[in-house]
Amino acid sequence: MSNVTGEVEQDANAAGVVKKFMFVNRKAPYGTVYALEGLEVVLISAAFDQDVSLVFLDDGVYDLVKGQNTKGIEVKNFSPTYRALEGYDIEKLYVERESLAARGLSQDNLIVPVEVLSAAELSELMGQQDVVISF
């Protein structure tokens, strides 16, 4: 009997644990499948009510570029899905300033509001996470 109670308590505790998850996306959208698969994982993570941050670094910033039209290459344009993240309570989107600059891009070129961080600020934020998952 006490054993059963113990298990229930354990489950209750497990359900209440919120960890800080950071997903780091460093891949452009269509050349490989990483960006799309990474986005799927982020959407799944939303179901677990965790503290999720999403970072776009290096070629990952290209995922958020406005005006993507994939009709000509006959693959799905998944960029609008980034706009839906807010509806899943994933609101912490970060972009590295250096990555944008190296690609001639600015915040105005992106389809969603993001927080632009320097490499130093991003480094600090990354260090505060419980789990970092990279794509």
Binding site: A28, G31, T70, I73, G104
Partner: protein, 99 residues
């Protein structure tokens, strides 16, 4: 000769290797993630402009459009469609794909 590059210049050194080897008068076709190379204001713009002085530089327009980068393409790069891709391959020998 035709050189074809399909990797982002920010992710691999493929484009750099190609430009080192390609001889003046050759054609260079950028496809897939390599089309990011021709965008204005990026870190390789000067390198691509320099290459365009001695090479015929082409970029695949559907790949630029897919990535939202068509309007960002620099002058001096010729945008082609899939038919143009076929014509380029048919007109050049040999063809080197820098995978």
């Amino acid at each position: 000769m035709l050189h074809i590059v399909n990797k982002s210049p920010f992710q691999t050194t493929t484009l750099e290797s190609c430009l080192r080897i390609a001889r003046p008068g050759s054609a260079l076709l950028l496809i897939e993630d390599a089309v990011y190379a021709v965008a204005k204001g990026n870190a390789v713009e000067a390198r691509v402009r320099q290459a365009a002085e001695t090479l015929e530089v082409y970029a695949l327009a559907p790949d630029l459009e897919a990535r939202g980068m068509k309007d960002a393409a620099i002058d001096g790069v010729r945008l082609i469609d899939y038919e143009g891709f076929v014509d380029l391959v048919a007109a050049h020998e040999p063809v080197q794909s820098w995978l």
